[in-house]
Amino acid sequence: MDVWSSLMDGFSTALTPMNLMYAMIGVILGTAVGVLPGLGPAMTVALLLPVTYALEPTSAFIMFAGIYYGGMYGGSTTSILLNTPGESSSVVTAIEGNKMAKAGRAAQALATAAIGSFVAGTIGTTLLAVCAPIVVKFAVSLGSPSYFAIMMLALLAVTAVLGKSRLRGFASLGLGLAIGLVGLDSVTGQSRLTFGIPLLSDGLDIVVVAVAIFAVGEALWVAAHLRRTPLHIIPVGRPWMGKKDWQRSWKPWLRGTVFGFPFGALPAGGAEIPTFLSYVTEKRLSKHPEEFGHGAIEGVAGPEAANNAAAAGTLTPMLALGLPTNATAAVMLAAFTSYGIQPGPQLFSSQGPLVWALIASLFIGNLLLLLINLPLAPLWAKLLQLPRPYLYAGILFFATLGAYSVNLQAFDLVILLVLGALGFMMRRFGLPVLPLILGVILGPRLEGQLRKTLQLSAGDPAGLFSEPIAVGIYVIIGIILAWPLVLKLIRRSRPAKAMPIGYDDAEPGADHTVASVPPSTTTEATIPTHRKQEKP
C-alpha cells in the first residue's frame, strides 16, 4: 500500500492547476514537435531543457512527462499520414497505418493508435509504478562492482544490439566516451582533453552536446538532402472507430502492451523489437490475415500499443537505476543531473515526492493526450505542411537559442557547430547517434564506479567480480558479444535456413546481411530493411 499512498501524494502534487498546465503544455508541445518531421521526443526534451531551468524541478519533470508521451504519439501520426516514418519505433505502424489511410480509413487508424497508446501507456505506467520500487529494493543492495557491470551492459547492448553495424556503433561509442572525458577529472582535479582552453574545464554541457548532435546535426543533414518534391499528405477528419474496429483492436492493444513493457525496460530493448514482434503476432492471430499488407487495423493497434508500453518500460531502469536505455531517457537523465538530482536507487528515498509526481503526471499526460489528440488530429495533419525552410531554420534558431541560454557564452555555439558537423557526418556515414549520447552521459559515471570499485579492492582487478550480480551480467555481456559468432556457426551448419531478422548483422563486411536474405514476399523479411536508427 506504500506505492498507492505515494502515488496519491504524487497526484496531489501533479494536479495543482499550475502543474496541470505544465502537463498540458508538455503534451501539446510534445505532440506538435513529434508530428513535425525531423524532430523526435529526445530532441524536443533537449531543446526545451534550457527553458525549464527557470522552473522548479517538479514542474519541469511534469512537463517532460507530457513531452515524452506526446512525442511518441506524434511520431505515429506522421507515419500514418505520410508513408515515411521518422522514428524506428513507428516503422511498423507505418506498414498498415499508411495503407489504412490510403484506403480512406485514416480516422480509424489514428483512433486505434491514440486509444491503443492510451491503454498501453496507462498499463505501462501502472507497471512502472509497481516495478520501480521493487527494482529499487533490489538495487540498493548493489555495490559499485554491480553498477559498473550494469552500465557496461547498457552501453554494450545499445552499441552491439541496436543499429546495423556493430563496428560503427562502437566507433560512435568511442567518440561519445571521448567527449565525456573532456574537463576536470572528478577525483584528482586534473584537466583532461581541455587543450588549455579554460572554458572546457567544466566539460561539455550535455545539453549543448545533445542539441548539437540531435538538432543541429539533423537540420544540416536534412538541408543537404532536402526533398524538393512535396510529400503526399492524406487529409484526415476527426478520428473515430466503429464497433467492429473496437472488437478488432482491444486484444492487439493488450498483447502489444505485454510485448512492449519488458523490452522497454531491458537495456537496449528499445521499441523496435516489440513493435515488430507485435506485428508478426497479430498477423498470425488475425481472423483477417488477407487484410495484412492492405491496411489491417490490428497491425496498427498492436505495434502502437507496444511502442507506448516500451516507452513506459524505459522509464523503469531510468528512474530506479539511473540507467537510460534510449535517447529520450538519456536526455531526461541529463536533465535530472542538471538539477543536481542523482537518479538511481536513492532517488526514490531522497526525491520521493518528485518521482511520484512524475509518475502521476505520466498518467495524467496519457489521459490529456487522448483528450487533446482526438479532436486536434486535423490540426496536426496541417502541421505536416509547414514549409520546410521555416521548419529547419526554426530548428537551428531554437537550437542556438537553447544552447546559448545555458551559459550565455558564444563559445558554446562554436561547440554546437563543431558537434553539429559531427552529427551530420554520423548521419552521412551511418554511425548511430545513440551510443555517442549514452557514452557522453554514462562514460563519466562508469569511470566513477570503476575507480570506486578498485579503490575498495585496493587496486585488485578481482574486485570487479566481487558481487554475484556483476558476474552474472558479465556472462550476459559475453553472450551478447559472442552472439554474431554463434549465429555464423549455426548458419554455416544450416546454410539453407537464412535468419529472417536483421538484428544480428553485425560484424564488419556483413553490413548488407539483409540483402543476402533470400527475397521473400512476406512482410517479415522486408521489415528489417526499413530499420533505421531511432530518431532523436
Binding site: A54, F170, R192, L220, Y392, F397, R428, P508
Partner: protein
Amino acid sequence: MSSAVTGLKGRAELGVALLLGVVGVLVFLDANGLVTPYSKSDPVGPKTVPFIVAGILLICAVMLAINVLRGGKGEAEEGEDVDLTHPADWKTILPLAGAFLLNILLIDWAGWVISGTVLFWGSVLALGSRRYIRDGIISVALSLLTFYGFYLGLGIALPAGLLEGIL
C-alpha cells in the same frame, strides 16, 4: 596519381576512420601527458579510462578503414524530408553554416535580436525560400519574441548588444 584518386573515390568514409584515429591519438597523448603519483585511494587514476577510450577509437579506426576498403559502407540515414537520390547539396549547407557562424560572431556584440534575425533569415534563404520580405518580418518577430519571452518569462537576459537601451 589518377589511379590513386579513382581508388579513393566513393571512399569518403575513410575520412571517418581518419577522424577516429586522430581523436584516438589525441586522447592517448593527452592522457599520457598527465602526471599522477600513485595514490592508494585512487589506484585506477585519471589515465586508465582515457587509455581504454583511445584504444577503442584506434581499433575502430583501423577496423573501419579495413571494412571500407573491402567495400563496406555505412548506410546514410533516411527521414521524412530526406531524399537520398540526390547527392549532398553543398549550396544549401555552406550558406547555412555561414549564417550560423555569423550568429556566433554577432551575438555578443550586436545582441541576440540582430544575430538571431541574421541566423533565421539566412537559414530560410539558404533552404530555398524566396519571399524575402515576409521571411525578414518573421525573422525579426521571432528574435524579438524570444528575447522578451526569455527575459520576462524565464528571467534569462539574452544580450541586447547594439540595441541596448532601445529594447
